[in-house]
């Protein structure tokens, strides 16, 4: 793969903060990142055939059920919007070419690669991310099953796998092992944790039986 980066990334986390500092800063303040998000400006839906951009345009994404306002250039992907503009770093940027699955989110009920969706094109659809899964401090049954079954090693593919599993189990609540293999065919793990991942999904399906999935 060509590793060439865009000459100018539209927005970076301010002030050269390290990724870890950036993430932990979110927990404390959150507001600094969210300044743009708190603006209560009403964002009109673009009129048909109206041209938008190439400069930043105001858009509204619905993330885990909540509206989020931001300004992005049309070229910004949903993945970059989540990570670099909204500060949600759960979806990972690994291949950035729609082949690895680490950036998987659920959009309008279907798993998609967020690196292959333009943020501006993701408006009007609910976008479920890994950040929306846990209920407070208690893990979602799928995440808990990943922990219990060694469904991760380095962890970089994990959030994508968990979301792929969520999307899969939403549609296939009683899967066989073969169903799980095929159902997670859009995600790669370079550590080779597939067996743990598959067992986790089977266990999560069993644990969620009768319970509301979600």
């Amino acid at each position: 793969m060509n590793s060439r980066k865009d000459p100018k990334l539209p927005v970076r986390p301010s002030g050269g903060v390290s990724r870890r500092g950036f993430v932990s800063g979110l927990g404390i303040g959150g507001g600094a990142l969210g300044t743009g998000l708190l603006e209560k400006e009403a964002v009109a839906a673009p009129a048909p055939a109206n041209l938008i951009g190439p400069g930043p345009a105001a858009i509204t994404l619905t993330i885990n059920g909540k509206p989020v306002n931001l300004k992005v250039e049309p070229r910004v992907t949903l993945l970059d919007a989540l990570r670099n503009y909204i500060g949600m770093t759960g979806a990972k940027n690994v291949c950035d070419r729609g082949v690895c699955g680490a950036c998987t989110v659920i959009m309008a009920g279907k798993t998609v690669y967020s690196c292959a969706v333009l943020a501006i094109d993701a408006q009007g659809k609910n976008i479920e991310t890994i950040e929306g899964l846990a209920a407070g401090n208690s893990l979602h049954p799928i995440s808990a099953a990943f922990v219990a079954n060694d469904g991760q090693q380095c962890g970089y593919c994990t959030s994508g796998f968990v979301m792929a599993a969520k999307g899969f189990l939403d549609e296939h609540p009683n899967p066989t092992m073969d169903d799980v293999k095929h159902g997670l065919g859009g995600n790669l793990c370079r550590c080779g944790t597939y067996m743990g991942v598959r067992k986790a999904v089977i266990e999560a399906a069993a644990n969620m039986k009768g319970a509301k999935n979600g």
Partner: protein, 325 residues
């Protein structure tokens, strides 16, 4: 990727009015699974991207008097799971279900599947459709494990379309619409082997949009068989799509189309001819496979594809009539 202006038209005329008359300045966005990658690699650097997903008439699968109409925006997931397609046009459902990634099936559209650019790694690294450097072809003595065994150059990439072989075998056509009118092009004529860098590998013109696929009435048995190296996230190594018209157990006419062996889905006319008047047995299926790969011209690293294509034909035929090998 390069910055661009974005349009989200609600009607086809609006969308067509936004397209340039030459390739380059504008691109059509549907599922985005290919276009965004092309833009990130600067292989496509459109000044304007026209999202057609808001155009309602491009969606949906409908049964018509003439057969089946598949809107350009229908996703590969819809094709794989549609009951009518699974029952009457099994080869199409096979081809769509063969895409191993649910995410790609959810995003990728029928129109995009036909219009996607080649996956040849030389093309993707900027060496052009014909993969040349300083005027010299790179593929014949290069890394050609996944390249063509039919077509004879100067293009050696393989058509990546999943639906192409099945559509050609079924005798389908595609509707291409411009501001000036529309034309129906047989799927077999939609794919083009480029002889120079200025030719696209499809018959679509820059100011046209592929709006729908028309598949003639079934009365056929069909199947697609893909040979893959991995269970997940990869392209097939060789594909065979077959469509049989039957009179009882006897084949009256047959079409056999190979995928991932040439810059276009490759119709194996000899295999089709051989099957007419026969019943599908392991022996006739094997003979058809052998006939299908007659004349293959493997490159230095891809002779294995000849065998895989041969086996794919045999298995697709047996699957179409549900016979055991």
């Amino acid at each position: 990727m390069q910055a661009f202006e974005y349009a989200n038209p609600a009607t086809l005329p609006d969308a067509l009015g936004l397209l340039a008359s030459e390739w380059g300045p504008t691109d059509v966005l549907a599922g985005g699974t290919d276009l965004l990658s092309l833009m990130k690699e600067y292989l496509h650097t459109p000044k304007r991207v026209v999202n057609i997903k808001g155009i309602k008439e491009l969606a949906g699968i409908q049964k018509t008097g003439a057969g089946l109409r598949i809107g350009a925006l229908v996703t590969m997931d819809e094709i794989a799971t549609n009951a009518e397609i699974r029952n009457e046009y099994k080869s199409l459902a096979d081809a769509a279900a063969g895409i191993p990634s649910p995410q790609i099936r959810h995003m990728g559209t029928a129109g995009g599947d036909l219009c996607q650019r080649p996956r040849c790694w030389y093309y993707r690294q900027g060496f052009g459709l014909l993969a040349t450097k300083d005027g010299q072809p790179l593929v014949p003595d290069g890394e050609n494990k996944y390249h063509a065994i039919f077509g004879g150059g100067p293009a050696y990439f393989v058509s990546a379309s999943s639906l192409g072989p099945a559509l050609i075998a079924l005798g389908a056509s595609v509707k291409l619409v411009s501001a000036k009118g529309s034309r129906d092009v047989p799927a077999a004529k939609f794919f083009v082997i480029p002889k120079d860098e200025r030719t696209r590998e499809i018959a679509l013109r820059p100011n046209e949009i592929l709006t729908e696929i028309l598949v003639p009435g079934a009365a056929t048995k069909s199947a697609t068989y893909e040979v893959r190296q991995k269970e997940a996230l990869d392209w097939p190594l060789a594909v065979a799509a077959v469509a049989l018209r039957m009179n009882g157990a006897t084949v009256t006419s047959a079409k056999v189309v190979l995928g991932h062996v040439a810059p276009i889905p490759w119709e194996a006319a000899a295999a089709g001819k051989l099957l007419a008047g026969k019943t599908i047995t392991a022996a006739t299926a094997e003979a058809a496979g052998k006939a299908a790969v007659e004349g293959a011209q493997p490159l230095s690293q891809n002779a294995y594809k000849t065998q895989l294509a041969k086996v794919a034909v045999k298995r697709a035929l047996l699957d179409a009539v549900k016979a055991r090998a």
